[in-house]
């Protein structure tokens, strides 16, 4: 753990001494809870339709697959016409595209970003590496199964999948959302202990709170 994250006593500019514990002071440690759907089915259907037609992707390219997302913004593929947009902050995004291999170091950042996203949120695993390790099957530093660490709604196979495959993946994800099956955030909350245990098994220097939104 880094020195600045450790619990210590600090002397303020006014001479007062106080204790800081960055892991507790800067983050909230309450675990996620299962968020019920709207009371009325019609309202929930409306919301699900809106969610499916307005997918905001977190602009976080975790691996080489990130290069396949860029063409989606260009005139040739133009994902904007399907309601897909990119947001620069996890707070406002709904979809996390894990683009390709995920090293242990990146996994740590991915978990933090994922937990900052708001319920409902979706995860798409892009490329073979997220499914079974792909060509990094014997690597000492990349995870092999994404669904051990985050609830995955959809995998897009390929190495790398082309942008067309991504568009098809978005279309399938829309169907999932509209039928109300994409409840990854609630699944994460339900099996929180299991996911945390898996994450901590591979991340050796766990220097963040268990749940950091």
């Amino acid at each position: 753990m880094k020195e600045e994250l450790e619990k210590r006593i600090i002397k303020g500019p006014d001479g007062l001494e106080f204790e800081v514990e960055p892991l507790r002071d800067y983050y909230c440690e309450a675990p996620p809870t299962v968020m019920p759907a709207a009371y009325s089915k019609i309202v929930e259907d409306l919301f699900n339709w809106a969610r499916s037609e307005s997918i905001w992707i977190l602009g976080f390219g975790t691996g080489c697959g990130a290069i396949e997302m860029r063409p989606l913004m260009t005139p040739r593929f133009d994902a904007y016409r399907f309601g897909v947009q990119w947001r620069p902050t996890p707070r406002q995004s709904n979809l996390f595209v894990i683009s390709g291999y995920l090293s242990v170091k990146t996994l740590k950042r991915v978990i933090r970003s994922y937990e900052q996203m708001q319920n409902p949120k979706y995860v798409v695993g892009l490329g073979s590496c997220t499914i079974n390790g792909g060509m990094y099957w014997d690597s000492y530093n990349t995870i092999k199964r994404l669904d051990q660490y985050l609830p995955v709604d959809l995998y897009i196979a390929g190495c790398m999948p082309r942008p067309e495959a991504l568009l098809q993946g978005f279309a399938d994800l829309k169907k999932l959302i509209r039928s109300g099956k994409a409840e990854g955030a609630n699944e994460y909350a339900e099996k929180f202990e299991w996911y945390k245990a898996n994450q901590k098994k591979v991340i050796n220097d766990w220097d963040m709170p268990d749940y950091n939104w």
Binding site: V104, K105, K108, I131, N132, G133, W137, D138, S139, Y140, N141, T142, I143, K144, R145, Q148, N198, K201, V202, I203, N204, D205
Partner: protein
């Protein structure tokens, strides 16, 4: 390249010269000769650019080979200086005072090969790996497959085929 080699040989005891191309050659050196040769090349022969610093693990001979690749931008020639150090408690003199960028390479070598560079800035900090708790992963006695099988959970049902055999089977099924 030969001229340079003979010129250098007047001042320093050198090992063999391997000429890869017209503009690329490697010279093997003793560990303690490295600093004077580098300084001479930088200040007198205009090899002002450190292209890279890397290591090779010769497990069978129990040595690490460090390669310092220097470049002369004026006449576009590269010269590689090879230094052999022992694999046991591997340690090498730092050259971060000659080229500050070397500190980054040395940090990487420290993490990936476990070669120590005393006095190099931040050499013991994490570079790429975080919380690594095994032997340095680029050492050849580190078994990455075994490590990854132990550490990461695998998805069952994965088959691995030898690409050469597989393509042969596929293209020439009757063994022609």
């Amino acid at each position: 390249m030969h001229e340079l080699y003979t010129k250098l040989k007047q001042y320093f005891p050198l090992g063999e010269l391997i000429e890869q191309r017209d503009n690329l050659a490697f010279i093997t050196l003793k560990q303690e000769q490295l600093r004077p040769v580098i300084l001479h090349l930088r200040d007198k022969e205009n090899y002002t650019h450190l292209v890279l610093l890397t290591a090779v693990d010769w497990l069978e001979d129990n040595i690490f080979q460090l390669t310092y690749l220097l470049s002369n931008r004026a006449n576009a020639t590269d010269i590689g200086l090879r230094v052999m150090i022992s694999r046991d408690s591997a340690s090498m003199e730092s050259i971060h005072d000659i080229w500050p960028t070397a500190a980054t390479y040395q940090r990487e070598l420290r993490e990936m090969f476990g070669i120590d560079f005393p006095d190099s800035p931040r050499v013991n900090d994490d570079f790429i790996l975080e919380g690594w708790n095994d032997i340095p992963p680029y050492r050849r006695d580190f078994d990455t497959l075994k490590y990854s099988e132990q550490t990461f959970s695998q998805r069952p049902g994965r088959e691995t085929k030898d690409p050469a055999e597989h393509m042969k089977q596929k293209l020439y099924p009757d063994g022609a």
